[in-house]
Symmetry: D2
Subunit: 371 residues, 4 copies
């Protein structure tokens, strides 16, 4: 598992949690692949994951973990118990290489990934993007054409450059962020050319998760959703990034997609993300749904979600690594639409409702196992 | 369609809505069987339903409809347009027969049902219980043994006596209430003996509907639900009945079942129903769910549902009538577990999550159609 | 009472309500001046108010009232009963005069106001601004200097031009909107010069009303408010106007003032207004307050307000007219800070908490009465 | 300060907080008497309070504090810093004496209080009841007659017996609980006979606090509250006690009083308290208020309060001790109605709205200071 953004909240929570689970210090709540449905299905063991990664800052993992502990995300005693091992992982987190040209940067990344895979003798390596959300890049024809792209790597934003290097190095890729990443058609083509699988985009951990079960409920009951408005208040590193209007727009678009896909129409109302520094990693989302039933009667549902984003995201990063590694071993290539369960904006042709995504996930693992 | 409790809020909303839909005055929002998935599947037409029924009070349907209109449930202009037809239906609503013995009462009911079926030349007749919720009856061995029951009909509460009469008359039965109705094993046996189908119990129109999509979400994400508390505030006739502790207990039990069935454990917290007369037919339900994720992090979800109970229930009564009539024509007998989608406490072996219930419903209609 | 914006939702609800109260068809819920504290205190009778006004559109009052009735704001039967009288009032609602120069427009308005006052033999006339919210005007030195202003009337936005004309005509003025209106220092000077009173700005009918009681609670309990975020979802004419960023900014600024004034510091978080057409005149506001108590313990309060804006505003328009007319009769001039109870952004030196504003209001009426 | 129930959550949080404030380790958020309005007003210094008390269990204060720390109420590092001093206080917490007769028990308590006052050379001693809520005692004529009472001390529940002993020992008394305590008329008489002041009952820290600002808002706006329903979910020791129906009834009655007193009528709806063990000391209260405005338009407000009961109560215990001690020094005797700000069910003739209670409190301290 190669984490891009390895010193961020999600990454540090994943790694600390992985070490704590291995040490038997905590349970596996929140880990989907630990449910009975997936046990004995040939997924790689949590014990066998080796962690490395990149970041653009040098803050020690332990320091970041202490901040998360002060913020109520990581229990203090547990952190103390894994501090030594965390320092070991820290040595395997490198500064993101920046070279004179995009092509040279890609070469450097390929070098790092290959070296890591060789040193640890890994049969599959999954690069997971948990770096800060980027603004949406300007359109460019090379985004849609892998041949043109190879001569124009400078048109790729960092997330996509990373996906490109991963594929060229024969690694699988998971995009947990709403950044462009693997969404550019040329990268999908590249993954298929290189015979490696990928999954994305944008981990589904809060408001959209709820929407993906409530919207199907309204649809199957033939209730007309007239408006669906949402507001998300969050602090933390991710919240700060989202004060950038470009990044914010990328995120809200992926949040509204589920509604129009499930309902077949776009209800009124908008989705907002506001940065409130003091809320830290605990996000509050509030949604108001106004709907009409028989004889036009007007009714409402509202919900408030108080979730800890990193605690929700971290186990999914482990799940996605296990599932994507298993897919790579089974020689799957291109988009893993069957992992839509985990994403706000799933790559590949996938149902939008959570329950159907769940069925697809269960079948996917059975099929891998049978293969 | 024979409505037991035909002068109540649910019944009157069903009938008024049916007449308005037929007259092209309103759409079919809230009618599940009007979704594209079910069109052309051989269900009886809304236009072909003939309505009759029983009640224990004589309030004219129109008067009750006017009350519902003043309460914001039925639009005034629409009511004016169907007032004449409503008066026609009114003539077919009889006083519930009460005879010296339970056996004689059953005979009288069989007579009424048979006469109605013959007069209107119906190929299927569905008796739908939308009468006031009853207290849970005292246990009796005859409840579990159809042979013993025939000699002890007096041990049946009114809902079960009605189901018994319906089956003996060769009619299908739908129990939209949490009353004992068809839940007694002896009645299930009787339905199978008589070769008629039935569905129940307790229409799922509010808090439990939401629970049936949220609980599977927590389960599939491996999040531990620590407590789930709910409060329901409602007025209306149903609310008044539920001030009776016996009726209230029947209802809250059927509300909590979904949680333990989906989650596999019973979270802390209770579900309350409080009567607040002035809220009328508009019910407010509030639920607080406290859950734990990765590393034990504590999080919360709360929702508030402001629904109009009759507007939610009425189209389902029409749906259930169509579906059960089609099942009767297709010679199904006994519990229709495939209609679990509609009920808080489904009869027969049925999944507890709404999405799986939906799949079961779609398959059921396809199979009937193919048959 | 001269209503500017007389064909809008607030105005039409005020007038319809006034007629209905006079006819004994409805109670006076929502009318502050009908509380026992104010009875027998020499305020003008509701029966004595004569209504005229301006608008820029010609939609008949009755038509607008019917729309409000369809939207659930005005009860249908009541509207029918006062339709005739509403048509009478309609004749007294003029098109807003627009002349070649601002000075000529002012002359025309003075003419209309004087004629109305004479024709109906009124001893006091109150002009009430309930027109659409305007964008904030560009700064100009004449805004602060009444002498310079007289040569530069074209720098005034419509609300301020109306206040100017009212004062020159010897009328009192109430600004129920967040527009510039009487807030410009030159207009305050003018009111004092002309010896007429005024009150404003921006009727307090929802979220800010609640904030004006909750913020003092946190302050007096020495609880530290860390963040206070709010979102307002509304349709209706007012909502549509607020999609204009300038108008929206004017409104949200006046909503946040109460917090910093009461608490003595500005908590994190922002206040948003979003237009959701289908919600119509029923507004939903949701606020999340995060606060810290003893030993830094973090806690939260959230509220959801579902209010009908016009039904809340309309009786206050009547209250303000009575109170301001009484002040005019008592020869008060300049800002009536004692009416801060009614406003989000009170003119004059006024306390920010609702309870203190209430005390000030009660004393004010006693003093007028004693005078 | 003599705490009855000194090993409970409220008491331990008060004491730990007091030590931490004195040591300069934390601020005084939540302490009302630390607001600028009260500084330099002659209240006893926090530094001068000496703590002793009673309990019926022997759990060390430090152990209870560690439990509260694990539950997120007390910050761990702060607790470590005051552990030594906490152990000192622990020595001054005695087992509640239980003697053969009530009269002998009273004698024993008088002995303990007198010894404590003498040993620490205190000029005033305040006994504060923070013990578990008791069921309401059966009525007895001696409750209303101090002379009769002296011969029938066995008819007093523990809280009242404690108040009796405190008064006889010349101590002031604060009842922070909804128990009978000083509410019995005979005890009020006794306090006046002995010339000592008392305050109570039932600390106002959550739902009722909010109600005491919202209800006056509805009243002063002449809005008709049609129903007000509330539910309180709480764990902790207090929650467990309230599963006893008697104790629960005492508490909900004191919660509803504010509504009828402020509004002048009793709206529909009830207030519930449910024990949910896993919520611990963090209580969630949800209230739904349905109200009618102008022309009968129906509107709603709902709020959710997530508060930490002990963190809210603890600083008030310190406030009440300082204020009551100052009153005792100023020779006040009988009920201190001016402390109504702190209580759900204030003793003496006091206004029910929080803002008026606040004014009364400020005046009270000024008057003491002037005296
Ligand atoms: N937490 C969730 O629930 C959730 C859900 C969906 C998506 N996400 C996404 O996951 C990402 C991480 O979230 P977070 O809360 O950990 O944010 P964070 O700000 O704490 O961490 C991001 C990390 O990425 C690093 N970084 C920035 N640019 C980089 C680059 N080009 N290459 C390598 N590292 C880079 C930063 O230095 C930082 O350490 C965000 O994009 C967020 O939108 C999170
Ligand atoms: N509305 C919903 O969303 C919903 C959901 C689930 C279940 N239900 C159930 O549906 C039933 C009807 O609800 P409602 O709101 O119409 O109630 P209601 O009180 O308005 O109507 C009940 C009617 O049944 C009649 N009745 C009582 N006893 C009878 C008997 N023995 N035989 C025949 N009629 C009898 C009453 O006179 C009344 O007219 C209730 O049991 C309720 O619990 C309703
Ligand atoms: N309803 C509330 O609770 C509330 C509270 C505070 C403030 N307000 C303010 O009250 C005002 C009216 O609200 P509403 O809901 O009635 O809006 P509305 O859009 O229904 O009515 C506004 C009316 O003003 C007219 N108008 C526009 N410009 C005008 C001008 N220059 N001169 C005369 N008339 C003009 C419009 O034609 C329209 O008829 C708004 O400014 C709103 O912000 C309302
Ligand atoms: N926390 C709040 O916000 C709040 C608000 C209002 C009232 N109160 C009241 O304060 C009281 C204390 O609450 P808590 O959360 O600390 O409860 P708790 O259960 O943690 O503590 C109560 C303590 O009282 C002791 N006790 C029981 N009976 C006693 C007796 N007869 N004499 C002496 N000690 C006795 C118990 O052993 C326990 O240590 C309760 O009555 C509660 O209703 C609390
Ligand atoms: Na809420
Ligand atoms: Na809510």
């Amino acid at each position: 598992m190669w984490l891009v953004g390895a010193r961020g909240a999600v990454a540090v929570t994943s790694v600390t949690g992985l070490l704590a689970v291995r040490a038997g210090l905590t349970g596996t709540a929140g880990c989907v692949t630990e449910l009975p449905q997936f046990s004995g299905r040939g997924l790689p063991d949590l014990a066998d994951l080796v962690v490395g990664g990149y970041d653009v800052v040098g803050t020690p993992l332990l320091k970041r973990a202490e901040q998360l502990s002060a913020a109520g995300v990581l229990p203090g005693p547990l952190l103390a118990a894994v501090a030594g091992e965390l320092a070991e992982v820290d040595k395997r987190v490198l500064m993101l290489p920046v070279r004179a040209t995009a092509a040279e940067t890609v070469e450097a990344v390929i070098g790092d990934l290959t070296a890591f895979r060789d040193r640890h003798d890994l049969d599959a390596l999954v690069v997971v993007n948990v770096a800060s959300t980027e603004p949406r890049p300007a359109d460019h024809p090379a985004h849609a054409d892998v041949t043109m792209l190879r001569g124009h790597l400078e048109v790729l934003p960092p997330s996509a450059l990373m996906a490109c290097a991963a594929f060229e190095a024969g690694c699988a890729f998971v995009d947990f962020t709403p950044s462009a990443g693997v969404r550019l058609p040329a990268l999908d083509e590249l993954a298929r050319l290189r015979g490696v699988p990928y999954a994305g985009s944008d981990g589904k951990t809060g408001e959209t998760l709820i929407r993906s079960v409530l919207a199907p409920m309204f649809a199957s009951r033939n209730l007309t959703v007239r408006s669906w408005s949402g507001v998300n208040l969050l602090g933390g590193g991710d919240g700060a990034t989202l004060t950038d209007p470009g990044a914010n727009a990328a995120k809200t678009a992926s949040k509204e997609r589920v509604l129009s896909e499930v309902l077949g129409y776009r209800p009124q109302g908008s989705t907002r993300i506001d940065y409130v520094e003091e809320l830290g990693d605990f996000k509050t989302a509030w949604d108001l749904i106004s709907f009409a039933g028989f004889l036009g009667t007007r009714m409402r549902l509202e919900f408030t979600w108080h979730g800890c984003d990193s605690a929700l995201a971290a186990p999914l990063v482990l799940d996605l690594t296990r599932l994507t590694a298993a897919a790579q071993r089974a020689n799957r290539s291109g988009a893993l639409a069957e992992l839509a369960f985990f994403f706000k904006d799933p790559a590949g042709a996938a149902p939008a409702g959570l329950a159907e995504q769940w069925s697809a996930l269960v079948s996917f693992v059975s099929a891998l196992d049978a293969a």
